[in-house]
């Protein structure tokens, strides 16, 4: 059974029709990637999944329950965490406070403490900088923080919006390695990326989205082999 099932999703910004009947599925344990050009509607889809936007039409079922139009906090509670585009760390707060906020809905102080250690073990740089204001972190460190913060909610499904944006190749590798590790430990991942090569290299399946519609879907291998995808998204080689 699929963990997340989106059917015929239509989302508007006022008169702008940003998602035009998007359907997709994510199965438990998978890494699914969503690629597409600027303005295709990738972030809009993630924001709708996490409750920041309300769909006008269509269904979103998560673990068999409808979450379309639910409040963001109940979606977090249900086990979906969203690392937004641009990281959106709380710049006016310390690294530690940011991580703490990720566990906002949790009450198990013992478990929170353990997960704190887990985040610091995954990202030792955050440990060194735990008292630093997060606005003073580098882009890569902010990405680590945003991911660590999201993991504090103990998500079953992690939505990642362009984690490689603006990062140097080495940092991109580090982040992708962490994504793989998080997935191995049992968290399902829906990954939005411009860096299609990287994304397809770690994904099980992929969807290509163009101007609000899914135009191609298949396994990562299929997409890597597809002439159309190569031409438009993989730099044409």
């Amino acid at each position: 059974m699929s963990m997340l099932k989106v059917d015929n999703l239509n989302v508007y910004y006022g008169a702008i029709h940003a998602l035009k009947g998007v359907s997709l599925e994510v199965n438990e344990g998978e890494v699914v990637t969503l690629i597409g050009a600027n303005g295709a509607g990738k972030s809009t889809l993630l924001k709708t999944l996490s409750g920041l936007l309300k769909p006008k039409e269509g269904t979103i079922d998560y673990l068999g329950k409808s979450i379309a139009g639910s409040a963001a906090q109940s979606i977090v509670k249900a086990g979906i965490s969203h690392v937004p585009e641009g990281r959106r760390v709380f710049a006016n707060m310390t690294v530690e406070e940011n991580i703490e906020l990720g566990a906002f809905l949790r009450k198990d102080s013992q478990g929170i403490k353990q997960d704190f250690e887990k985040v610091y073990a995954t990202f030792p740089r955050l440990l060194e900088r735990r008292k630093q204001l997060s606005g003073t972190l580098s882009g890569g460190e902010q990405q680590m923080l945003a991911m660590g913060r999201a993991m504090m909610a103990k998500p079953r499904l992690l939505l990642l919006d362009e984690p490689s944006m603006g990062l140097a190749p080495l940092m991109v590798k580090t982040i992708f390695q962490v994504i793989k590790d998080i997935n191995k430990e049992g968290t399902t991942i829906l990954l939005v990326e411009q860096n299609a090569n990287m994304a397809l290299s770690i994904a099980d399946r992929a969807y290509v989205i163009e101007t609000g519609r899914v135009i191609i879907s298949g396994t990562a291998e299929e997409l890597q082999a597809s002439e159309e995808v190569k031409l438009a998204y993989l730099g044409g080689h």
């Binding site: 996490s50 906090q73 509670k77 937004p84 959106r88 710049a91 006016n92 906020l101 990720g102 909610a153």
Partner: protein, 291 residues
């Protein structure tokens, strides 16, 4: 020791401004609204204190607590009834609504009890202490210690508690805060509650110190506290505290130098100078607006 005396008077006045300014700045920080009805919450708080003391015979501290609690509820009601639905409206629509709420409360109080002033009862024997040659009244000491205690409690709430951290997160990025599972509506209400409770406390303190209260008493201190908040950097909590104290001291100094007619003007001159030379305020960084 005349200057020391004036300094103490200035700090007492300034701490009242600071308590009111905190509400302005917290609400602005979280929803970018200048809540012009905030001065009226201060006024209502002062009347609740008055009734508690003179009608129900409560002492100062029970009256203070009652007024703070009632104002907290009042502030939340104002937010839920008048402002919540305007969350996505233009700023000017929200601002006009705030002015409307302010007029409604002023006239509502006048309708209920008339416009005549009331004399605050004495809750403390007014003894004076000699402090390095300056006369300090027990009331001045009381005002100062209550204000300082409230500001310390506020700092504790904002920096150490879960709700305070959520408030800072929402004020920085409400959407990202939602992704943490924070219920932004509840945090906005909590902000109104805390800011209004401080205004209520300021109202009671003001009554005890200046003894005369009336339904329009919130207007001038409200505007002055707004200036104090802008002076310190609107949206910045320590800024409101410092801005209030600076304004209180400046006003007192201006009067003491013999320009008492210019006292009220001082606040507006400061506002104009700040807006021209340092619009982000003393503590504000002149950074770009959040997008």
């Amino acid at each position: 020791m005349e200057w020391l005396q004036q300094l103490i008077n200035g700090i007492s006045l300034g701490s009242i401004y600071a308590l009111i300014a905190l509400g302005y700045t917290m609400v602005y920080g979280i929803i970018k609204l200048i809540n012009f009805a905030h001065g009226e919450v201060f006024m209502v708080g002062s009347f609740i204190g008055f009734i508690s003391i003179s009608v129900w015979g409560l002492g100062f501290f029970p009256a203070l607590l009652l007024s703070m609690t009632a104002c907290a509820i009042f502030g939340v009601l104002i937010e839920r009834i008048a402002y919540k639905r305007l969350r996505n409206a233009t700023r000017i629509a929200a601002l006009i609504t705030a002015i409307g709420v302010s007029l409604l409360i002023q006239n509502g109080v006048i309708y209920i009890r008339g416009a005549q002033p009331a004399a605050y009862p004495d809750v403390f024997a007014n003894t004076s202490y000699n402090f390095f040659g300056a006369q300090i009244s027990s009331q001045a000491i009381l005002i100062l210690s209550v204000s300082v205690a409230l500001m310390l409690i506020l700092q504790f709430i904002v920096h150490k508690t879960k709700i305070g951290k959520a408030m800072r997160a929402v004020s920085h990025d409400a959407e990202a805060a939602k992704l943490m599972g924070i219920n932004v509506d509840n945090i906005i209400s909590a902000t109104f509650a805390i800011g209004s409770a401080l205004a209520g406390a300021a109202g009671v303190i003001f009554g005890v110190y200046y003894t005369k209260i009336d339904p329009l008493m919130g207007v001038i201190p409200g505007v002055k506290a707004f200036v104090a908040a802008v002076l310190g950097g609107i949206g910045i909590i320590p800024g409101a505290m410092v801005g209030g104290l600076v304004l209180g001291v400046v006003e007192t100094v201006v009067s003491a130098l013999g320009f008492s007619l210019w006292r009220d003007a001082a606040a507006f001159i400061i506002l104009i100078l700040i807006l021209i030379f340092r619009p982000a305020g003393i503590f504000g960084k002149n950074t770009r607006e959040k997008v």
